[in-house]
Symmetry: C2
Subunit: 437 residues, 2 copies
Amino acid sequence: MLLSRFFLPTLKETPAEAQIVSHRLMLRAGMVRQSSAGIYSWLPLGFKVLKKIEQIVREEQDAAGCQELLMPTIQPAELWRESGRYEDYGKEMLRIKDRHERDMLFGPTNEELITDIFRKEVKSYRQLPKLLYHIQWKFRDEVRPRFGVMRGREFLMKDSYSFDLDKAGAVRAYNKMFVAYLRTFARMGLKAIPMAADTGPIGGDLSHEFIILAETGESQVYCHRDLVEKDWLGERIDYEADLQPIVDRFTRLYAATDEKHDATQATKLGEALVSARGIEVGHIFYFGTKYSEPLGAVVQGPNGENITVEMGSYGIGVSRLVGAIIEAHHDDKGIIWPESVAPFAVGLVNLKSGDADCDRVAGDLYAKLSANSVAVLYDDRDERAGVKFADMDLIGLPWQLVVGPKGVKAGQVELKNRKSGERQELAVESALARLLG
Amino acid sequence: MLLSRFFLPTLKETPAEAQIVSHRLMLRAGMVRQSSAGIYSWLPLGFKVLKKIEQIVREEQDAAGCQELLMPTIQPAELWRESGRYEDYGKEMLRIKDRHERDMLFGPTNEELITDIFRKEVKSYRQLPKLLYHIQWKFRDEVRPRFGVMRGREFLMKDSYSFDLDKAGAVRAYNKMFVAYLRTFARMGLKAIPMAADTGPIGGDLSHEFIILAETGESQVYCHRDLVEKDWLGERIDYEADLQPIVDRFTRLYAATDEKHDATQATKLGEALVSARGIEVGHIFYFGTKYSEPLGAVVQGPNGENITVEMGSYGIGVSRLVGAIIEAHHDDKGIIWPESVAPFAVGLVNLKSGDADCDRVAGDLYAKLSANSVAVLYDDRDERAGVKFADMDLIGLPWQLVVGPKGVKAGQVELKNRKSGERQELAVESALARLLG
């Protein structure tokens, strides 16, 4: 992509309304723009990151045997009256009347709707277990939306739902999602710690939040120091095997959100206790028959008996992750994207656009990298070097490849790693080889 | 994917509410389920097709130099008051009040919002032209939703917007989209004929609808016979070149929707006139300054003068295309997917699940095809052959690979082409080679 054509409205000044670093940087890097309180448009750079994150979430859900479908944003109120949550949910639920005065709502979550689909289609124990998910925009009408996409009103969420014959089956599904979540966040360069959590309006008695430690976190969390330093999963997972040992490796150490925190543990752990601010990026629930019972999600068992299915639900805040990753990966110059979610792999900087030699070398690098499926943002603008470097640091691509008139005469370019700041003068071919590596 | 695990609730009976073949087949093939009038959940099979179509649309937009972003579903009413469309739009617009009693709406289209983004960020003629698109769920509160996803209330649309300095530039953008649309639909196995069209609530004076001829079409259309038989574009397009000659090749022959039909042409064309029912799958508009004027989308020209930008918008009904493709590709047994949008490439039928030899051969084929990235749906269910064949024909995968006890003894399997109905007995290795082609 040529930067001269790319729709990338970066800002030099920090917008006054942004209180936390991810919000500031997302605005300055031209990733998002607010259209009304807590509702954002994702400009091309932000959209690319959002899609990368969504794809990692999708791949790990698929790997865990979860099947993707897509439920609509607008739901009928009747379903929520059946579960008893229509009144419970309060003003956070965006209630709508359609032209025929029917009560509708913009889904804040989908337990009711997925249970409705299930009860109409699944009738026999032989069709279980089922593990289904979708990635869809949700709406929660926060009274005071803030922190950019971290606490917006319209947000993208991945939510999965499990259906099992008994509690043991439901716990197997829970463990699959637990492990899939560890892998998902690790792939994005995040240390997300599973912590015992309150179940809130979803309900149930077993729940973990996946929490990133960050000063700007919305809530206080507590955990054993070893969890912070724990090495995350790189291994390949067999999702058909018993995953309890992996789950136990994490849950045997103390970790709890504020609501679940046990003060006696604090005393017991002493120096081993970490007390910090945390950002929630995922939340998983086992809630048994809370929805299947009132909605009548019942299958026939092997002996003809009726079995009310055991359910769980599992959410990841996809759009929120964009902000959370920035909170975890930035410096005072801007964002530092982990390679797995970077909008482009390489930022190619032509220090003297219009100079025949620079244009030729940079154009050639751009063509060769692009032909090899390396995503390159080529700054071909007629701008000062300082502006180009500042923009590149701000948008945080993992590699910067700098073509300048002096280097070009010597057949050299500079390769800079955004994260380490390390710079190397390399022959053009060597730089290319390194990036094609 | 193992069919025994796949969430695929096929139906033997035709649901009474479905009036047209695509709606009937989408319900019977377990692709969608209605959650309320005109609002559907996409089950895994339908979701896969939807994603394939979306991806073709995306690739052709990108190839034409259009940049993807994503605007939210919920928009502020003020923007629509600025353009004057808030009252115009009538009851089809889903109007919403949020918890602070602010007027919001679920976007039926995005001219206002994209113009708002543009006017805040683009200030100089040097930043033009711009061609931006998004693929997002829209809502139009149809008084009588029907025909399944063909006329739903919540639907997925790709909408692009062009911004140019003058009419000539806007026509260049229009032509890019015109050609990109021809390619997009051709890749899906559709003959979509561009026809002079009315501009309706979008406005402007140049517009084409892309129409598929089908008996179940919603409107009457008229065109020169040669357009129906015209060979569609296979060639590579240089979107920087002058595309007017390609556009002219299509527009010099008569083609018009009912609203634009000129009865004198009917007489002139005589036998060459085709009068048929048509399904709209795309609609493109040039509307000049209709939105940029009231919203003040103005850039500074080379001499410091203010230039109100010239705009166009370009829509493709992504979810509607799923239905339209079925209308064009089916027989009395079910759907016949073009390979480019098929949810799986191959349906592998094990005629005797539980038989050691059949299980081994089928399992081996499944593993080898999957390892080579061929998407296979493996019917490993304990069901009668008749049920398996009927389901495979219904869901319409391009190839059926049948493993039966008699064939297996002779080292043979049967390969059936869903479209032609042609069957071939082949050695296992030959069948594999054919599908890995």
